[in-house]
Amino acid sequence: MTLASATSRPAGHAPRRGGDGRPLDHGAWFLVLPALIPILVLSVGPLLYGIALAFTDSQSGRTAPTRWIGGLNFQDLLHDTLFWDSFRIGLLWAVGVTVPQFLLALGLALLLHQELRFRWLARALAIVPWAMPEVVVGIIWRLVYNPDAGVLNETLRDVGLGDGRDWLSGLGTALPAVIVVGVWAGMPQTTVALLAGLQNTPRELHEAAAMDGASAWRRFLTVTWPALRPVALAITALNLIWNFNSFALVYVLTNGGPGGRTRLPMLFAYEEAFRYGQFGYAAAMGCVMVAAISVILAIRLAVRLGGGEEA
C-alpha cells in the first residue's frame, strides 16, 4: 500500500520534506488559508472560548449579561457528587471497554494474520460495526437486549439460564451491558490497527525463532510483541480517550439510566448544557474532562520518551 510505504520510512532518514528545494513560506499561506480559517473559527476558537466560558455564569436564554465569576463553577463542581459519580462511571466505562477490546482485538488480529480459510469473512464482518452509524449500533443492541423479543434472552431461555431480564434497565446489569456494546463497536478499529502492526513484524525473525524451537508464546513475547508495541500503545491511548468522550452509543442504549448508572460525563454535560441551559457549568465539566485526558496523553508521552520507542 502506498500509504504504508510512504509513512513507515524511518523519520530520521526521510528526504527533507521541502523536497523540491523551493521555500514554501510565501506560497504556503495561500494554500493553507482555505482550511486554516475554518479551523481557527470553528475549532480552535470555540475550544478556547469554551475554556473561557467555564469561568462565567453563561446560561441559555439569560437576559442579564454574562458575568466573569472566576473559579466558582469549579468550586461548585467539586461538591457536585452527581458529576463525580458520572466521572467515575466514565473512567470505569473507558477502562472497561478499552481493556477487553484490546485483548479481543489482539486475538482476532493474530488469527487473521494466519493463513486461515474464511478469514476474509471475519475481515468483512469486522468492518460492519465500524461502518455503522453509532445510533444504529445502539439500536441493534437494544434489539438484542430486548427483554421479550431479544435474541439474548431467547438464547438464555433455550439453554435453561433463567427467564429473561431487562439487561439495560437493571441497576447492576446496565453498565456491563453497555460495556459489551462498546467493546463490540470499537473492536474493528483496534483489530485493524494491530493487524497493520503485525504486518510490520519481520517474518524472518519469526521463522528463525521457530527454527530454534521457541514456543509460540515465547515467539510472541520476543518477536511479535516488541514490534507491535508502538501500535498497541498508540491505539490503547486513543481508545481510552475516545471511549471516555463517547456519547451517541450510550445515549441511544440507556440515555444514562437507570438512575444514572450509565451516565457518562459527556451525557451529563450535554444535559446540563442543552436541557438545563447551564453553559458555563457544563463548560467547566468539559475542562475537567480535558484535564483527565491530558493525564492519559502525558502518560503516553512519558512512555514514548522513557521507553526508547523509536517511532
Binding site: L3, A4, L31, L36, G50, V144
Partner: protein, 277 residues
C-alpha cells in the same frame, strides 16, 4: 509456519467465536426488520422470519419523515465531503512538503483535535452559530462537519502527498512551472485516488454523525437520519421494534457500501499514521 493439528482446530474454533460475536447483532437487525408484528410479539423469537414482510419498512416511512431525513443527511454529507477535500488538499500538501512552523502547528492540531471532548466545543459553537443565525440551519451543520472531518482528511492526504516523489515536482519546476501549477498539474492527478477515498470517508463520517446534529438542528424537517432514528424510540424508551429495525437497516446501507469500497485505504492511512504519531 508449522502449526499442529490441534492448534489449527483451536484457531478455527476461535475464529468461529469471533464470527458469531461480530455477526449476530447485525443478522438480528435484518431478521427483526423483516418480521411481521405478530412474530415480533412472540415470546419465543426465531432467527428467520416465518412470514417475511415489508410492512415494517412501509410503517417506518409513514411514521417518520425518513425520506426527507435521508435527503438532509445526503446533502450534509456531500457538502462536508466536497468542501473538506477542496480545502484539505492544499493544506495537506504544505504539511507534507513544508518544514514551516505552520506545518508543525497543523500537525499538532490534528493530534489534539482527536482528544478533546466535543461538549467543550459545541457550547461555544452553539453560541457563535446563534449569533450568525446559523443555528437550526443545514449550512451551519455542514460547516461544523467540514471542520470535524478535517483532521482525519489531512492525516490521510498528508500520507498520500508523501507517497508522490518530490523529484516529479522538481522536474516540473525545472520546466518553469510555479508552485500552484505544479500542484494542480503534477501532484493532484497522482493524488486523485487518495482524494476520492478521503472524500468518501468524510461522507461516511458525516452521514453517521449524531451529536452535532442533535444539538444544532431543532426543526424536524431539517434533522438528519441518525437523529430521526432516535424518534422511533419513545420518551419512555419503548420502541416499535419492527419499523425501528427497518429504518436502521436502511440508514446503514449507504455507509456499508462506501466503507466496503474504501476500507483498505482508510485502514492503511490510519494506522501507518498511528505507528508514527
Amino acid at each position: 509456519m508449522r502449526t499442529g493439528k490441534g492448534a489449527r482446530a483451536g484457531q478455527y474454533l476461535a475464529l468461529l467465536g469471533y464470527l458469531v460475536f461480530l455477526g449476530f447483532p447485525f443478522l438480528w437487525l435484518i431478521s427483526t426488520a423483516f418480521k411481521p408484528a405478530r412474530e415480533l410479539a412472540d415470546l419465543h423469537p426465531t432467527w428467520i422470519p416465518r412470514h417475511p414482510t415489508l410492512a415494517n419498512f412501509r410503517q417506518a416511512f409513514d411514521e417518520q419523515p425518513l425520506l426527507h431525513a435521508a435527503l438532509n443527511s445526503l446533502l450534509a454529507a456531500l457538502g462536508a465531503a466536497v468542501i473538506a477535500v477542496l480545502i484539505a488538499t492544499p493544506m495537506a500538501y504544505v504539511m507534507a512538503r513544508g518544514r514551516t512552523a505552520l506545518a508543525r502547528a497543523a500537525t499538532g492540531w490534528v493530534v489534539v483535535s482527536q482528544a478533546f471532548p466535543f461538549v467543550l466545543v459545541i457550547i461555544p459553537l452553539f453560541l457563535i452559530l446563534k449569533d450568525l443565525h446559523l443555528i437550526d440551519s443545514r449550512a451551519g451543520l455542514v460547516m461544523v462537519y467540514v471542520v470535524w472531518a478535517l483532521p482525519f482528511a489531512l492525516w490521510m492526504l498528508v500520507g498520500h502527498v508523501r507517497a508522490v516523489p518530490a523529484e516529479l515536482e522538481e522536474a516540473a519546476a525545472v520546466d518553469g512551472a510555479g508552485r500552484l501549477r505544479t500542484l494542480v498539474s503534477v501532484t493532484a492527478p497522482l493524488l486523485a485516488p487518495g482524494i476520492v477515498a478521503t472524500a468518501l470517508f468524510a461522507f461516511v463520517s458525516a452521514w453517521n454523525e449524531f451529536f452535532f446534529a442533535l444539538v444544532l438542528l431543532k426543526t424536524p424537517q431539517k434533522q438528519t437520519l441518525p437523529v430521526v432514528l432516535t424518534h422511533f424510540i419513545g420518551a419512555e424508551g419503548v420502541a416499535d421494534l419492527g419499523p425501528l429495525a427497518a429504518a436502521s437497516f436502511l440508514a446503514t446501507l449507504p455507509s456499508l457500501v462506501v466503507f466496503a469500497v474504501i476500507q483498505k485505504r482508510i485502514t492503511g492511512g490510519m494506522f501507518a499514521g498511528a505507528v508514527k504519531s
